[in-house]
Each structure stands twice: as C-alpha cells, then as structure tokens.
C-alpha cells in the first residue's frame, strides 16, 4: 500500500490540491474567494491531466530537436491548453457577475445576500 502511495505521489498531491480548492469554494462566504477556490480546483485537474502524460526523464514532444526517444504525450498538453482557456473564460464571466452583484446588493458575502427579492 505504501509503495502504491509513493509511486502515485503526484496523484496524492493533485487530490490534496483539488480538495483544498473545493473546501475554499464551499466554506468561504466571499464570492471572490469562491472563484479563487474554483481556479485552484481547475489547476489541480490540469496538473492531474499533464501528470498522466509525463514520462520520468522524458522530453517535451518536440521533434527535430534531437531529443530522446521517450516523449511526453502531446495529447494531455493539448487538452490542458484548451482547459486553461476555458477556465479563464469562466472566471471572467464569474467576475463580471460579481461586479454586478456588488452593484445591486452592495455586498459579495454569500450569507449577507439572503433572498434577493
């Protein structure tokens, strides 16, 4: 069990980061803090996806650079690149909504918002 835990140390770290981000999102009342928590969860998932594609001592997937036979897989890299763009888009819309909530309700603390109407 310990050996499995150690050989998957990267997945353990990713899980810790994911759960920490989830905790920030759930436990913190400030809307902006929740968005920061969301970003932490997203980067944790991206770290997981990149880690699945890596090879110990492998080279970046660049041909014609005289790099070694062991290449990290380019597929997860493409996925994460698209994922990061999606993450920044969702964050941008969330921040725009937060600005409007502040404008309309005067506060961005979730427990002070109560029933809007």
């Amino acid at each position: 069990m310990l050996q499995a835990l150690f050989s998957h140390i990267d997945y353990v770290a990713v899980t810790v980061l994911f759960c920490a981000g989830l905790y920030i999102m759930i436990a913190r009342g400030n809307l902006l803090k929740k968005v920061i928590g969301l970003n932490i969860m997203e980067t944790a998932v991206f770290a997981f996806i990149v880690t699945t594609g890596m090879i110990d001592g492998g080279d970046p997937p660049l041909l014609e650079q005289g790099l070694g036979p062991d290449f990290a897989s380019p597929l997860p890299h493409a996925l994460v690149l698209t994922g990061i763009v999606v993450a920044v888009s969702v964050t941008a819309v969330a921040l725009a909504l937060i600005v409007r909530v502040k404008r309309e309700h005067g506060t961005i603390e979730f427990d002070e918002l109560g029933e809007p109407r």
Binding site: L17, N39, V88
Partner: protein, 86 residues
C-alpha cells in the same frame, strides 16, 4: 524506496509541498489582494512543475494566463469590490 530519493524526485516533492503551502495560506488569509498574489505564486510554482514534467507549452500558458491575466482580473475586481473578507 532509496532510489526514490534521487534529486529529480526531490525537486518534484519540493514543488508539490510548496503548492500545498500556497493553497493553505490562500484559504487562511482574509485579505483578498494577498490571496490573489498568493494565487499567482501558486500558478508560477505549478508552471515550474510542468516545465520539469516535459510540458513547456502548458507551462507558458499557465504562467501567462494563470499568473498574469487571471490575477490582473482579480485585482481589478477587488479594486471595485473591496479587499476585506469577513
């Protein structure tokens, strides 16, 4: 277990520990500006990890988007929304 402690793995472990410290301090801080700055530190450390993992494209994007643009958006919204978190 012994072979696991060569410098490569140690570098990885160091970065992972740094990431977790960053996240814990983000969770604890009450000041949103500090949280945003800590998030950019977190992003840059993550970018370091990915360079080490053979993913330079992703590292560059994470540095530019995660540490750069996202934090700039956070700071601008904090300027309009107030930095204290109750």
């Amino acid at each position: 277990m012994i072979e696991a402690f060569n410098p490569v793995v140690l570098f990885d472990l160091l970065i992972l520990v740094l990431l977790i410290i960053c996240v814990i301090s983000i969770a604890r801080t009450r000041d949103l500006v500090r949280a945003a700055i800590l998030f950019s530190v977190y992003s840059l450390t993550l970018c370091l990890l990915w360079v080490h993992r053979g993913a330079p494209d992703v590292a560059m994007t994470e540095a530019a988007v995660g540490a750069g643009v996202t934090v700039a958006l956070f700071l601008v919204v904090i300027a309009r929304v107030g930095r204290r978190e109750r």
